[in-house]
Amino acid sequence: MIPYFYNRAPEKKCLLRILPLAFIFLLFINTHAFGAEHKYTIYFYNPETNINNFASLKKEFDLYLSQFGGYQFQPFSEREMFEKLIANKKDGIFIISSWHYKKLKERIPIEPVMVAIAKNKPTCRRIFSTNRTIDDIKLLTGMNVASASSEDYTKSVLVQMFGENNGSIATSIKILSVPKDIDALMSVGFGMADGAITTDNSLAKLAAINRKLHDKLKQLLISDETLLPIVAIPKLRDENHLKLTKIIKDMETAVEGKNKLNMLGFEGWKTLNESEKEYLGE
């Protein structure tokens, strides 16, 4: 028996013919969607910057990575959640700060392969700027300091800057967490904070934008040089880990890729040399 709608119009016959095809197509899409749950992932967490544009970052990176296949980007804002989630993950690579890497590598079998480049170098220093000249370190006790890094990280930088003997002064400092380094510097310049911890690169940016404000700030203490964030991959790796590493490495060669890296505050990557590996405790 011919279904009644077959007699109604030729386009309906056509519809019936394409239904099985549509069903197969949907099955195909669904298989891929299922596969999408197992995409290899770039896990990103950087306590050195208070990046809070996660929605834009994820969207932009996912769009960029999609042209290379089943890869995705997953940024994190909280260290605890990041560490908990990646503990048993073998399906991705990590962009993390060198400070965090040194802590993570004891627990997770990963190894560093590349380091980020900004202003043509793979390192930066943290600078403690204040709104006035301070001669006695004790006067810093209880000061309000703006920082775009996590509180943990900022305190560790302060302890390193002040020296172990003045650890109690470092811990007495009250951290005001702000979204960006430039906000931290403006906070000092315009009186919302007494001091700021930022990178030397950010101070250079401020000098380019507003020389008068830059000159108003007093650079009180400078940290040791630290490596910029690194790319680490699992020790037990497969072809996809290596492919994804190469995709990240090549981002700087394409305009689109470079723009995405700029969103993280980097210009490109370089392979780690021996002294940099040594710095990371390798």
Partner: protein, 331 residues
């Protein structure tokens, strides 16, 4: 507080000794009696140990910006003494007054105008800290009122603009002489420091905004739409400003996310969670009896949204290195 804790720890060996010396049949009544004595004491200790003497009153938690300020505050002070959400329903004043009295806070953090007005009326002697209030200068403020304003300094906005678009140097502003003459002068001076020439077009109630803007557009690379009450007095005039700028292919940068859909190229606003954190820092400073020079602080964090389609259409040269400062990209 620590002394209390130590006292309690020292009492636990007594508990153990007591249990050993008791006959078995007396054990359960003894445990019950001891729990009865110590439990309320330990609850009190843990309460005061972790709680700051501040009450949060939120005008309406369902409003995103109010909720963000609340969360920001609690990231610094996770256990306030109490939290009240006025919500969108009518709250009985007597009931609210009772809640405040019961909580008896040293400080009330008021998020939004409704929370502030209630607190100001019902708890006049309590120190108030406000945030998320547009144009706080119109508020009646007591000696013990502090706050975080919602508006970034003009110099902060201009600096971020300069950072993102280093080649755009002539920016036009429509402003009312009546409200913003002084503001304009300060902004002009700040702009000079960063190599921007701010071109002001004064208006008054009788000015035809369309023709004033037409004149301005001939002479500038971008328009800065500020929160001037005369410029923004009518929805239609705001729509016309965006239309005129779009026709002339001149970018509009402004202070509120609300203008993104209207066609703003760049929005530089205060970062709301940072405002909450600043209010919490202020609370802690006041609780530790630190004197404050400024009663109302400027927001320390910025939030930037950029429409890349518009950037391209307006032929703007974007400093891509500054993209790490952008919170929201629209393409």
């Amino acid at each position: 507080m620590n002394t209390n804790k130590n006292n309690q720890i020292n009492k636990f060996p007594m508990l153990s000794a007591l249990l050993h010396n008791q006959n078995k049949k007396h054990i359960f009544p003894a445990i019950f009696a001891i729990l009865f004595i110590f439990l309320p004491c330990s609850t009190n200790t843990s309460f005061s140990d972790t709680t700051e003497n501040v009450l949060i009153i939120n005008s309406d938690m369902s409003i995103k910006n109010y909720s963000l300020a609340h969360t920001g505050f609690k990231s610094v002070i996770p256990n306030p003494k109490g939290e009240i959400d006025l919500g969108n329903k009518w709250k009985d004043e007597a009931e609210l007054e009772k809640m405040i009295q019961k909580s008896n806070p040293a400080i009330i953090y008021c998020i939004g105008i409704k929370a502030y007005l209630f607190s100001h009326k019902l708890a006049k002697d309590t120190t108030l800290i406000f945030s998320s209030i547009i144009n706080w200068r119109r508020l009646t403020m007591e000696e013990n009122t502090y706050g975080i304003s919602s508006e970034l300094l003009p110099s902060m906005q201009l600096m971020m603009y300069r950072y993102l678009f280093p080649k755009t140097s002539k920016i036009g502003v429509l402003y009312s002489k009546e409200y913003n003459e002084e503001w304009m002068q300060l902004a002009r001076d700040d702009a000079k420091d960063i190599g921007i020439s701010l071109v002001g077009m004064p208006i008054n109630k009788k000015t035809n905004i369309r023709s004033a803007l037409k004149k301005l557009l001939k002479n500038v690379d971008a328009v800065w739409l500020t929160s001037d009450p005369l410029v923004l007095s009518k929805t239609d005039s705001v729509r016309n400003i965006f239309q005129q700028c779009d026709t002339a292919n001149i970018p509009v940068f402004t202070y509120s996310e609300a203008f993104i859909d209207a066609g703003a190229t760049l929005v530089i606003s205060a970062d709301i969670p940072t405002i909450g954190k600043q209010a919490a820092r202020l609370t802690l400073d006041l609780l530790s009896r630190q004197k404050k020079k400024e009663r109302v602080n400027i927001p320390a964090g910025s939030h930037i949204s950029i429409n890349l389609k518009k950037v391209e259409k307006n032929n703007l040269l974007l400093n891509t290195e500054a993209l790490d400062s952008v919170n929201q990209i629209i393409q």
